[in-house]
């Protein structure tokens, strides 16, 4: 055997030698150094006038980097003390949401930022969006300042464990997957799982109820909006009118437009008509963050199957596989492929679970591949 392998050994040793003899790569060191040690810029310097120590000044620079690549800025009491939270710029690892202090300001750069609250929720801030952690207690509340975020909330018997505030609108959820986007003057909400309540901030009624596969466009004050799909307008007596009931009083075809408000006589808020906004157009394909949200669910599901369907026997078991998911335009999973295949029991479990995942709607759907490393 050794005689057969000897030529390869010699070749390998020779290759190693040749690589070792190679000189270090000749990079543009001036450029690297300039980027690393950039000149101070007045607007950045003035952003943190209260930071006095020598190591807090670099924080201002790191803040700029964080704004580009995704960073978290802590806000303490009334004074916004901006310090960089270590963020793996080139990692897709989610941030630990449980470590974010109240008032933490999360800003996504060119890439989405994923924040996970163990056992509670996982939300993805889309590129160039920003949000503030407004409440980090039992009720997790985010204030979306710009852009869009999508979230998956673990079902909880407590009502409304997760909420997103956009201007004067409050979007509260139970256990669901949904997306909220803030435009210049609207709040766009789409729901892929569960139920979401949209209501004016500070009041718990009236509200719009959006269920799975529905979407809505609302004013920033949360009082007016139009809904599509399996949605309801709820009046303040607590009874929900089904969307079809509301629709029966409105011209068919157009998205339903509802205004909640109290009439001058002080009566109950009632749905009334207002001009219909243009119908939101489906994107050609789901956005990266929407795909990543689904990927996160897929990973959790596969880890669960791997854990449940493999025997540990006291040793660490790991597997690596490439998952190819084909998603239809209506967000359903068309096909699931593992390469290399997993153990039959694990794969059956994963396929069954993955087929129940729902992705965002789009015109074409999408097919993508991710490599997962599973271990237990």
């Amino acid at each position: 055997m050794s005689l057969e392998r000897r030529p390869e050994e010699r070749v390998l040793d020779r290759l190693i030698l040749e690589v070792r003899e190679q000189s270090s790569p000749d990079l543009d060191w001036q450029r690297v150094e300039a980027r690393l040690l950039s000149e101070p810029k007045p607007q950045r310097s003035s952003a943190t006038p209260s930071l006095a120590s020598r190591w807090r000044l670099p924080a201002a620079g790191l803040l700029a980097a964080a704004a580009i690549a995704g960073a978290v800025i802590a806000q303490r009491s009334k004074q916004e003390l901006r310090v960089p939270v270590p963020v793996a710029r080139i990692s897709s690892e989610p941030l630990n949401g449980d470590r974010l202090p109240l008032g933490a300001h999360v800003t996504a750069g060119d890439r989405p930022v994923v924040v996970a609250h163990a056992g509670r929720a996982r939300w993805t801030l889309e590129p160039h969006a920003s949000a503030v952690v407004a409440d980090s207690g039992e009720l997790l509340t985010l204030r979306l300042e710009s852009g869009a975020l999508s979230a998956q909330v673990v079902p909880n018997p407590q009502p409304e464990t997760f909420a997103v505030e956009v201007g004067g609108t409050r979007v509260a959820v139970h256990g669901t997957a949904f997306r909220v986007e803030r435009t210049a003057d609207r709040v766009l909400v789409s729901v892929s799982e569960g139920t979401v309540a949209v209501e004016p901030k500070g009041t718990r009624a009236p509200a719009f109820l959006l269920r799975r596969d529905s979407r809505g466009s609302f004013a920033l004050d949360g009082r007016t909006g139009s809904v599509e799909g399996n949605a309801s307008a709820v009046v303040n007596d607590g009874q929900a009118q089904s969307h079809r009931e509301v629709a029966s009083r409105l011209p068919s075809g157009a998205p339903q437009q509802v205004v909640h408000g109290t009439d001058r006589s002080g009566g109950a808020p009632t749905p009334v008509r207002s001009p219909a906004p243009p119908k939101p157009q489906l994107p050609l394909q789901p956005s990266i963050s929407e795909i990543e949200t689904g990927v996160s669910s897929a990973l959790e599901l596969m880890n669960g199957c791997f854990h449940d369907k493999t025997r540990s026997s006291g040793i660490r078991v790991s597997a690596s596989t490439g998952l190819t998911l084909s998603i239809t335009g209506d967000g359903a999973v068309r096909s699931v492929t593992f390469a290399p295949p997993l153990a039959p029991a694990v794969e059956d479990c994963a396929v069954n679970g993955l087929r129940n995942l729902t992705f965002a709607h789009s015109v074409e759907g999408v097919t993508f591949t991710r490599v997962f490393e599973l271990s237990r």
Partner: protein
């Protein structure tokens, strides 16, 4: 591609290594003193650390990724020094600074590779620049470049853990115990990974038809026969 960002403005930005400053830096030869100054926020010291170690970091990043000099490589090197900047205060001198720097570098590269794996898989155009027929070889340098490229393609097929220990030991020349410190694994584990890494590479050499030319070139070179004549016979 790795996202790029400036970390500045840093407190030392704007200062130049000219005149008295340069003279002062020249006097600083003790690494530990340099690191202490760095921890204290001395920008000039950090820049000196960067300049003293950037080539080593770039070489290791290149060997870990198999990439030629490129903007991507620069981004990774920059990321390494960003991490150094962020965590230099955690370096307590319990290991050599170079070992600690190796660890930071390896971690950055592995993070980058993991992130790349979680992104959509794009079919890269096959690089034929080093895959042409051996008869196309014009000189020894080109042949060597092809061999090195082929070797990096082999390395890329190893798992992250095996590739890391192989690069650190076989290419960077670290002892198994030093490698163990870098990758935070027992020495025995490092030796095991080295064994299997080498065995897998040998199997790849044997089974990969695209790499047959590497062995052929080396055999011909060792026999002293001109490559072109041998190919034509």
């Amino acid at each position: 591609m790795v996202a790029t960002a400036q970390i500045g403005p840093l407190p030392w930005a704007g200062s130049r290594q000219d005149g008295p400053v340069a003279a002062k830096l020249d006097a600083v030869t003790d690494l530990s003193e340099l690191l202490e100054r760095c921890k204290a926020g001395d920008g000039l010291a950090f820049r000196e650390v960067f300049r003293n170690h950037r080539s080593d970091v770039a070489r290791l990043v290149q060997r870990m990724t198999g990439r030629a000099a490129s903007v991507d490589l620069e981004d990774l090197v920059q990321e390494v020094f960003l991490q150094v900047y962020r965590s230099i205060k955690d370096f307590r001198g319990q290991s050599r600074f170079s070992t600690w720097l190796y660890r930071v570098t390896v971690n950055v590269v592995l993070m980058h590779r993991r992130a790349a794996r979680s992104r959509p898989v794009l079919q890269e155009a096959k690089d034929d620049s080093f895959g042409a027929d051996a008869r196309d070889l014009l000189d020894d340098q080109v042949a060597r470049a092809r061999r090195v490229a082929a070797f990096y393609r082999l390395l890329d097929r190893l798992s992250d853990k095996k590739r890391a220990v192989f690069v650190l030991h076989e290419l960077e020349g670290l002892s198994p115990s030093e490698v163990a410190q870098v990758v935070s694994a027992p020495v025995l584990t490092v030796r095991t990974r080295l064994f299997y890494a080498r065995r897998e590479l040998l199997a790849m050499l044997r089974d990969e038809p695209a790499l047959e030319f590497v062995a052929r070139e080396l055999r011909l070179k060792e026999s002293g026969e001109p490559l072109a004549e041998r190919e034509s016979t």
